[in-house]
């Protein structure tokens, strides 16, 4: 019983650890200037106002950064699904030499420190002429999102019985038709979840985006570079705007993430 209480306590601490910053950022993003600077801060929003957010959106470069972020995230989403889903399908359906090694290798790309890659990557991007472009950043973000896309779609396709495809073949489909008519409709919700997850990874990524852009900053990169010389309300509003889409999307697809990772860990 004591152990139970202890776990409960631990869980509460962890939840607060995550929730309190989000709560503070949210309330202060919707407060007026004086309460942002006030100390001690009240637990509840003192003065509801859109002043802080309006100020945030009024700062030069914010809209451009948001547009860049959206462009990069959308490209990442498309690339991740288009590259990740076929790889996941292959992992799920075919037994080929090195399948397990391949699976491991995919995960290893996540373990590889981006900091080591960053400088050579920047040099290479300059030579290729894609430095400081949305496309260049999207390529790196795709590399980051791809391991998840491959593993999640692989378990997604594993969950769709092979017999359904075989039944479609015997009923007159070729492989592509069977995929489009049977597998794809069944995989669609999971694929959407994968896409959204890739979007969120890209939306929140700051390191590669900062290193690989100068003028075409994404929102996190823009905020990071302008953080030190910007007023407090700006930081709260910016933080809020970064957190919210990620939270909303993850909340929408949480069911898929849980079940898919449950299978992927098998």
């Amino acid at each position: 019983m004591n152990l139970r209480l202890f776990y409960m306590f631990l869980a509460i601490v962890l939840v607060l650890w995550v929730l309190i910053p989000i709560f503070l950022i949210t309330t202060l993003a919707f407060s007026d200037r004086p309460s942002v600077f006030a100390w001690p801060k009240g637990l509840l929003p003192q003065q509801f106002s859109l002043e802080t957010l309006t100020f945030f959106f009024g700062v030069e470069g914010v809209w451009k950064a948001i547009r860049n972020s959206l462009t990069v995230a959308a490209m990442t989403l498309v690339f991740s699904v288009l590259l990740g889903a076929p790889a996941g399908y292959a992992l799920a359906r075919y037994r080929f030499a090195g399948a397990d090694a391949y699976r491991l290798l995919i995960l290893m790309t996540r373990a590889f420190p981006l900091a080591i890659l960053a400088i050579p990557l920047a040099v290479q991007f300059i030579q290729l002429g894609i430095y400081d472009t949305a496309f260049g950043v999207a390529l790196v973000h795709t590399a980051l999102a791809l391991p998840f896309a491959v593993l999640v779609t692989s378990s997604l396709f594993l969950g769709i019985p092979k017999e359904l495809e075989e039944a479609a073949w015997t009923l007159g489909c070729n492989r592509i038709q069977a995929f489009l008519r049977v597998v794809l409709p069944l995989a669609l919700p999971g694929l959407a979840a994968t896409a959204i997850f890739a979007f969120v990874i890209s939306w929140n990524e700051v390191f590669a985006a900062t290193l690989l852009t100068l003028r075409e900053r994404t929102l996190p990169a823009f905020l990071l570079t302008s953080l030190n010389d910007s007023p407090l309300p700006f930081r709260f509003a910016g933080g809020f705007f970064l957190i919210v889409p990620a939270l909303v999307f993850i909340f929408i697809i949480r069911r898929y993430l849980f079940t898919l990772w449950g299978i992927a860990n098998r």
């Binding site: 019985p161 017999e163 359904l164 075989e166 039944a167 479609a168 073949w169 015997t170 009923l171 007159g172 489909c173 070729n174 038709q177 049977v182 409709p185 069944l186």
Partner: protein
């Protein structure tokens, strides 16, 4: 409608030889069951005929067409899977119509065929539902209707009843038999259930370790097994095999002598006799031999006796009202025309009747 012919099919999975040169012919409109224990290659053979697996050697004909190199969609077959494989995102109607839509059939033809197939399977009232709203038995009906709707030349069924519960299986079995007799589609049916095989088949191909061991009508398979494997696999309880000494042209069970159909070279011979073909008596009879009763199991329609005969154990069934206790010695008279003689070394039958 067409015949199926496979010749010298060989298939290996890694180091495991699944099929060792199997040849088989299913006549037009015939219902053939592939029967065997798990791992005998029966499902692999079916999948090779469907085109879902590729054989390393051998050829497959459907009717006059050599379909060996053709993909499943071009073979004019339909298949019913063990787990039904009904498309969960389509209604029952769309499931049944799926094959016809792929053939680009006219809307009138689609409607007519779907209605006919649904009526055959008694699922007309379920057409608007999704598979998730159906029971296992209903899903199986949809799977069969979907296969019949495309009017295949050949129907392939892979253990279609094994996922159903016992009562439903019995019901579906009778219904399948009626249905396939009606539609007259050439059918190849895979099962490991010998009762299912006996009850459905025109002919049974018994498979073991990648070979077709015996291919004959159900009652022939039951009464005249080609070897000890078939005799032991078919029938519950299985056939008894008694090792008997040979004297000239006769075999001896103690005082009882039985004529052998052919000359035997070795000193011993194997007698195959079904448990129900041993008639039990409490007193000695002419042409009988004694055995001690070890166990009595009342099974309802009959009593199952386990007998000790020398070092060997025998099973025999007697009428339910037969008075018998464990430890008692009974006299058994084998039905002379129901005996099967086999070679004790190879296990093969001495005569092919």
């Amino acid at each position: 409608m067409a015949s199926i012919r496979v010749e010298n099919i060989e298939k290996t999975f890694g180091k495991f030889k699944a099929l060792n040169g199997v040849s088989l012919e299913v006549r037009d409109q015939e219902f053939v069951v592939l029967l065997g224990p798990s791992g005998c290659g029966k499902t692999t053979l079916l999948r090779i005929i469907a085109g879902l697996e590729q054989a390393e050697k051998g050829r497959v004909w459907i009717g006059e067409r050599d379909v060996t190199e053709l993909p499943p969609r071009a073979r004019k077959i339909a298949m019913v899977f063990q787990n039904y494989a009904v498309f969960p995102h389509l209604t029952v109607l769309e499931n049944i119509a799926f094959g016809l839509r792929m053939q680009k059939a006219t809307p009138e033809k689609i409607r007519a065929n779907v209605e006919r197939a649904a009526a055959l399977m008694h699922i007309e009232n379920l057409l608007g539902r999704y598979p998730a709203q159906l029971s296992g038995g209903q899903r199986q009906r949809v799977a069969v209707a979907r296969a019949l709707a495309v009017e295949p030349e050949v129907l392939l069924m892979d253990e279609p009843l094994s996922n159903l519960d016992a009562l439903l299986r019995l019901e579906m079995r009778a219904e399948l038999k009626r249905l396939l007799a009606e539609s007259r589609t050439t059918t190849l049916y895979v099962t490991h259930d010998q009762v299912e095989a006996m009850s459905l088949a025109d002919r049974i191909a018994v498979m073991n370790t990648g070979y077709v061991v015996q291919y004959d009508e159900p009652m022939k398979i039951y009464q005249e097994p080609a070897n000890t494997f078939v005799g032991g696999f078919i029938g519950s309880p299985p056939m008894n095999f008694l090792k008997l000494p040979v004297e000239g042209k006769q075999a001896k069970i103690q005082s009882l002598t039985l004529d052998l159909p052919t000359a035997v070279s070795g000193p011993e011979v194997l007698l195959g006799v079904r448990p129900e073909d041993l008639e039990a008596f409490t007193m000695q009879q002419p042409q009988s031999f004694p055995a001690e009763v070890l166990v009595v199991e009342p099974l309802g329609p009959h009593l199952l006796l386990t007998l000790s005969f020398g070092q060997q154990h025998i099973k025999a069934t007697v009428p339910p009202d037969f008075e018998v206790k464990a430890g008692q010695t009974l006299w058994f008279k084998p039905q002379p025309d129901r005996l099967r003689w086999l070679d004790p070394g190879s296990g093969q039958a001495l005569t092919v009747r």
